[in-house]
């Protein structure tokens, strides 16, 4: 078949020769080239030293049981302490569950906060909102995910999106409420780039990343230009957010396509088989590996959802009865899956010198009932749970806060989701008094007045 191929210098009526579209490389990521002019003096206060700070958020959808993971109570009665035993770690005095042997060898890299709690309804969705945005959504206002705030404040670095969500958004978890995984009132422009594919799939690739071979690069370029010519802003679309967003999605698509570096960042096949296996050949493991590649390529914030739902899937949500998960899955499936992916991620980032600039925060939406229920599982318990933080200035081998003797309530330094938000923003160098533009231009503070980061983590 006849092809107008860019490699063959084809001459046109206007006498010009066209460059290979794929090497055009002049595109920047959406109108995001510069931080949005927010007209706020706080912008000037952004910490220059932390300009290259990143964050990987591992969201442990379902809600890990504090008592069977990282806050064991071996001396509590059997119906409290559950089926697992604690093991020692490489940090004297810190013990975690036997389900995480590799984490035990890396305890010097991460810190634990054992006194998390929230006071909203004990459903998954509220916790998702609060842990990813710092706030509970009320009165129709959806608050932005940390990564979307970073995208707004800092903009992209290079040809990759500033915030990537792997592998898929959180779906239905029963509450019919927003999960706090979007840009909310900041506008869809700052929503994360969603992978929507399973990186552990043997045929995994980002779909349609390159033109088909019958379409030359030159024609792709011509189409792009002609589309812009045809699509000169018609006034009827000015007020439609979806229409404006469409322009930016095309722009982002072209940027991704035209950057070899960006394309390669998504190619897991470039990793040695041994490395891939180290992370675990499953959706979460490969997503964590992809997260590392994203950070290396210039993505500022990566959100990895460990699961998409809590129904009919083995997750942290161990009610003990169908359609939920049994407590034994922490030993058989979920525990090893997390242990391998998390440990490999910390090891890799540390070896590559990326950990000091990349906060890795791993957390669920709540803890679980101290008492094992009649089905042998544990139910929702937002009164107390444990989260993990590493990198980005966090001192490893550090325990902040404590729970009571049965893991039911914070005993020492109760910590709220808002403080977690402040902690992430602090690590990223975004001033906590920054005001974001809300509905009708009403400024909304990044975190409420008086909310402080968990400073003990950084001490």
């Amino acid at each position: 078949m006849f092809r107008l191929d860019a490699d063959k210098a084809v001459e046109f009526c206007d006498g010009l020769r066209r460059r290979d579209f794929l090497h055009a490389g002049s595109l920047s990521f959406l109108g995001l080239g510069l931080p949005q002019a927010m007209g706020l003096k706080a912008m000037g206060a952004i910490d220059k030293q932390k300009e290259n700070r990143n964050c990987i958020m591992l969201f442990l959808v379902g809600g890990p049981s504090q008592l069977d993971t990282w806050d064991m109570k071996p001396n509590a009665p059997a119906e409290i302490r559950g089926p697992y035993k604690p093991i020692k770690t490489n940090v004297p005095g810190i013990e975690i569950s036997e389900n995480f042997p590799r984490m035990a060898k890396n305890a010097d890299k991460f810190a634990l906060v054992r006194s998390m709690y929230h006071t909203a309804a004990a459903v998954h969705d509220t916790g998702h909102q609060m842990m990813q945005t710092g706030r509970l959504f009320q009165g129709g206002i959806e608050h932005p995910h940390f990564g979307c705030v970073l995208a707004k404040v800092r903009g992209p670095k290079g040809d990759v999106p500033p915030h990537v969500l792997l592998p898929r958004p959180i779906g239905n978890t029963g509450g019919n409420m927003p999960h706090g995984q979007n840009a909310g009132f900041l506008g869809k422009t700052f929503d994360p780039f969603v992978l929507n594919a399973d990186p552990s799939d043997p045929n995994f690739k980002v779909p349609d990343m390159l033109p088909p071979d019958y379409l030359s690069a030159l024609r792709v370029d011509r189409r792009k230009n002609w589309r812009e010519m045809v699509d000169k802003t018609v006034s009827k679309f000015e007020t439609s957010q979806d229409a404006r967003l469409l322009d930016s999605t095309f722009h982002q698509a072209y940027t991704l396509m035209s950057s070899q570096k960006a394309r390669e960042a998504f190619e897991l096949s470039r990793e040695p088989e041994k490395v891939r296996e180290k992370y675990g050949m499953n959706r979460f493991g490969q997503s964590c590996l992809l997260a590392r590649r994203m950070i290396e390529a210039g993505v500022r914030f990566v959100t990895v959802n460990m699961f998409e739902t809590v129904f009919d899937e083995i997750t942290w949500d161990i009610h003990g009865s169908k359609p939920f998960s049994p407590i034994s899955c922490y030993r058989d499936l979920v525990g090893p899956m997390f242990d391998n992916a998390y440990s490999s991620l910390l090891e890799d980032l540390s070896e590559r010198g990326l950990l000091s600039d990349t906060m890795v925060i791993a957390m669920g939406e709540f803890g679980r009932t101290p008492k094992v229920n009649p089905a042998g599982g544990r139910d929702h318990w937002p009164q107390c749970w444990t989260i993990l933080a590493a990198g980005g200035g966090v001192r490893g081998g550090n325990v902040v806060g404590a729970s009571d003797e049965i893991g039911a309530m914070p005993k020492d330094r109760p910590t709220t989701p808002a403080e977690v938000a402040a902690t992430v923003y602090h690590s990223l160098g975004i001033p906590l008094d920054l005001e974001l533009p809300g509905a009708q231009g009403r400024p909304i503070r990044l975190v409420d007045h008086g909310v402080e980061p968990i400073r003990e983590l950084f001490a």
């Binding site: 239905n172 869809k188 002609w226 979806d242 469409l246 509905a439």
Partner: protein, 813 residues
């Protein structure tokens, strides 16, 4: 003329005079020594309400009967009548207050006083003792939905430590919330508060239990029910509960408040509203499992000439209601849409197709004044209309081969299709589903039961699909923000406990029948409850009548507002881009409509005219409101919920794919479906299509309008740029580009045709010129005839690509 000037003068004079003052509520009765009542002083100034409650001077004509404090709170002293007066700057208003029962013995009532105190203090909320597992061994029912259980918990458990009859102040229920004893939940009230006194005195009276004879709340009322306010204004709300014994009491103090839009208004715990933006907000009031709302509005600061409203085209009652709302908010409607915009919009919204170039030309050339009405009538009779709405109701009823065999899926789909074709009344459509028995291959509707074998899932999906109510919360506890209780949930579920199913003769065939036994137990009471449709009449547990028929009668009764509102909102949302209630399938009382008057009128019109869906569609499409332009004016840039302009929406995945097929002349191939099938003709969402998946086709797994997505994504852009779907259509040897060249059409003719078939309009000269120049420039200068023809074809394909990925193509406007 002179008369008008005089009148105008009078109006001006009255504006300068003291504002009219009135007291709300208009009549007050205080029952018993502990009754209290908050009064409101409302002034009217410049057509806006002002809350003067805290600035007027309050006085009582007879302080021995009733006293009033500086904040307008009335306290009874002895039986009798008193007149309470409010005055300020010469304006005066008064209200009669009757006081009764001050000499009657009084004790606080567990159900009507103690529970509300604990609810307002937050003791029984989901995060505290209202949690399913309780908190620290103390478990109350969520928001006090079961006073009997709570009474037992408080008085009988924990060996009486929670309550000390001999020394009320030493009761844990008082020591904890006042933090005399450590309380993880913090301080909830003060020992000097009324909250404290209610509980202490109830204990001192010997903890009288809740009784069947207690007055029950029968309804709420709120003052003011709506208020037109000034920017930054504050407005106190007063909430009253009406009881089964005929009394009415001020329960403001025990009411939970929340705002539907905090960008417009905030409300504090005491019911004081603060306006912090322009627009309208609903303040939701929650008391004793009842909800109501008050509407507060601050009109936008626009100067709009009366002629703007006068020129708004009013074709039917829809327009009257929309206009009234726009006036109240000070928003000007956009101009009417042009014929070419209308024809494209009407085809897409009613039948999911684009008009062909020929159809557009005919419509534009038609000079008859009623051509739009004629077009609407014609569209409603088209086969594509049937495709489109059958697809929509298949989304609603979750038709798919995921859990139905192919033959069963087809029988279900064909029943829906036939129903749409004959414009089956919506009540009959629902009755067919819920009252039929027999073989699913003969009666396709019965597959709804096959898809919903679990009565619990059936209960939740039925209420979602046909009533717009999300019941799921009430499965485990009373709905936290709705009036539905867990008891109502299981009464409703028990209606579906006797749906029998057995295998038919052929695979995939099921026989559905009504059993005479079978119950669903309430999980806590561990017994079945009389089958009752939500707020309908219970059936006798002993009856062997088909429970589904009882349900269907209630469901489709013209008195069942949810039924008509739910479908009206879905149809309205299809055309107007946003439901009167948003999301389109969340029609609960706490989620108020953006135009309640219009919503009520539409629902009533629908139910009193035979539940005729086509009639409803015709009314919407005929309205001046639907026929407004999408282009904003200076006043309605941000309006997307009061219908001052047409809301721009992206074409649904299936419609978009079919439109691309139509303009390129190349149908999409779907595996196992006949060539030429359009996406909207597929009965099944399991049919593989990367295009449809990327553009947000729903999976039909959960009954939720949010399953369909119309948000743009990078994946969509990548797919149209690089993916196979559009690229194959453009380069097909029998596609439009190849055909046009074969016919030897000029570039100009080709562009005219493409604009008509893609945008339903001719291109302007300014648009055409640069496009023609580009096409010319990209003709090959050298090479064989074959090379030159190929170059031109590719250029045409690329121009078509640009047209078919432009906003004007992807959106309905």
């Amino acid at each position: 003329m002179i008369r008008e000037i005089v009148l105008a003068g009078l109006v001006a004079a009255s504006l300068i005079a003291a504002p009219a003052l009135k007291i709300l509520p208009e009549s007050v009765e205080l029952n018993g020594p502990e009754a209290r009542h908050q009064l409101l002083a409302e002034a009217l100034s410049d057509g806006r309400q002002e809350d003067w409650t805290r600035q007027v001077k309050w006085s009582s004509s007879n302080p021995k009967v009733a006293e009033v404090d500086a904040a307008g709170l009335v306290t009874p002293k002895s039986d009798g009548l008193a007149v309470i007066q409010a005055s300020s700057n010469g304006a005066v208003a008064s209200v009669n207050v009757r006081v009764k029962g001050t000499q009657m013995p009084f004790t606080w009532n567990f159900r009507n006083h103690v529970i509300p105190v604990m609810t307002k203090a937050g003791c029984n909320q989901g995060a505290c003792h209202g949690a399913l597992a309780g908190k620290n061994g103390f478990k109350l029912t969520l928001r006090g939905y079961d006073p009997e259980v709570d009474f037992d918990t408080l008085t009988r458990q924990s060996v009486g430590r929670r309550i000390s009859l001999s020394d009320p102040a030493n009761s844990l229920v008082l020591l904890k919330p006042t933090t005399v004893v450590a309380h993880a939940g913090g301080k909830r009230f003060d020992p000097k508060s009324l909250e404290y006194r209610v509980i202490a005195e109830w204990i001192a009276a010997g903890t009288p239990p809740p009784s069947e004879k207690d007055a029950q709340v029968t309804g709420l009322e709120v003052y003011p029910p709506s208020a037109l306010l000034k920017p930054g204004a504050e407005q106190q709300l007063v909430v009253r509960a009406k009881y089964s014994d005929g009394t009415v009491r001020d329960v403001t103090r025990w009411t939970k408040f929340s705002s539907s839009d905090e960008g417009v208004a905030n409300v504090d715990d005491n019911g004081l509203v603060k306006m912090n933006g322009h627009g309208e907000a609903a303040i939701t009031l929650y008391y004793s499992s009842r909800v109501l709302y008050s509407r507060v509005t601050v009109p936008f600061e626009n100067k709009i000439d009366a002629s703007v409203y006068a020129s708004f085209r009013r074709n039917n009652f829809i327009d009257d209601h929309v206009l009234a709302k726009l006036k109240s908010l000070n928003i000007a409607p956009s101009a009417p849409a042009t014929d070419s915009v209308f024809v494209r919009r009407a085809y897409l919204d009613a039948a999911g197709i684009l008009p062909t170039a020929e159809e557009v030309e005919n419509f534009l050339a038609d000079a008859r004044p009623d051509k739009r009405a004629r077009l609407i009538d014609a569209l409603l009779e088209r086969e594509e209309f049937v495709d489109y709405w059958a697809y929509k109701w298949s989304d609603l009823l979750l038709v798919s081969s995921r859990r139905l065999r192919s033959n069963a899926m087809w029988s279900f789909y064909n029943w829906i299709r036939d129903s749409v074709r004959e414009n089956k009344p919506w009540d009959q459509f629902a009755r067919d589903i819920f009252t039929s028995s027999g073989n699913t291959s003969e009666m396709g509707a019965l597959n709804y039961f096959v898809l919903h074998k679990d009565p619990i899932v059936l209960t939740e999906n039925v209420t979602q699909a046909f009533l717009g109510q999300r019941l799921t919360c009430a499965r485990c506890h009373n709905h936290p923000l709705e009036k539905w209780t867990q008891k109502q949930y299981y009464q409703m579920a028990n209606l579906f406990s006797r749906v029998g199913q057995k295998n038919g003769d052929a695979p995939g065939e099921v026989v559905v029948y009504a059993k005479t036994t079978g119950e669903i137990n309430h999980p806590r009471l561990r017994k079945p409850l009389p089958p009752t449709p939500l707020d309908g009449i219970p059936m006798d547990l002993g009856s062997t009548d088909d429970r589904r028929i009882h349900f269907a009668k209630w469901l489709t009764s013209p008195d069942n507002e949810y039924f008509s509102r739910s479908i009206v909102n879905r149809v309205w949302g299809n055309f107007m881009g946003r439901g009167l209630v948003d999301p389109v399938d969340d029609v609960r009382a706490t989620n108020p409509a953006s135009n309640e008057e219009l919503f009520g009128a539409l629902a009533k019109d629908f139910s009193s005219n035979g539940f005729d869906v086509k009639r409803l569609i015709r009314a919407i499409m005929s309205s001046g409101t639907y026929q407004l332009s999408a282009e904003a004016n200076a006043t309605n840039q941000n309006d997307n919920k009061y219908y001052s302009k047409y809301v721009v929406k992206r074409l649904p995945a299936e419609v978009l794919l079919d439109a691309m097929s139509q303009v390129t002349g190349v149908p999409t191939r779907f595996a196992n479906y006949p060539a030429g099938s359009r996406a909207l003709q597929l009965p099944d969402t399991q049919v593989r299509s990367e295009f449809l998946s990327a553009f947000g086709r729903p999976n039909r797994v959960i009954c939720d309008a949010g399953e369909r997505s119309s948000e743009p994504s990078i994946a969509q852009a990548l797919h149209v740029i690089n993916g196979e779907t559009l690229n194959r259509k453009l380069s097909a040897p029998d596609g439009y580009a190849a055909l046009a060249l074969k016919l030897g059409l000029s570039d100009a003719r080709i562009l005219d045709h493409l604009f008509l078939s893609a945008y339903s309009r001719f291109p302007s000269e300014e648009e055409k010129r640069p496009m023609l120049e580009e096409l010319k420039k990209h003709r090959a200068a050298t090479g064989s005839t074959e090379v030159r023809r190929e170059a031109r074809r590719q250029a045409l394909e690329d121009m078509m690509w640009a047209l078919l990925t432009s906003k004007e193509f992807l959106f309905n406007y």
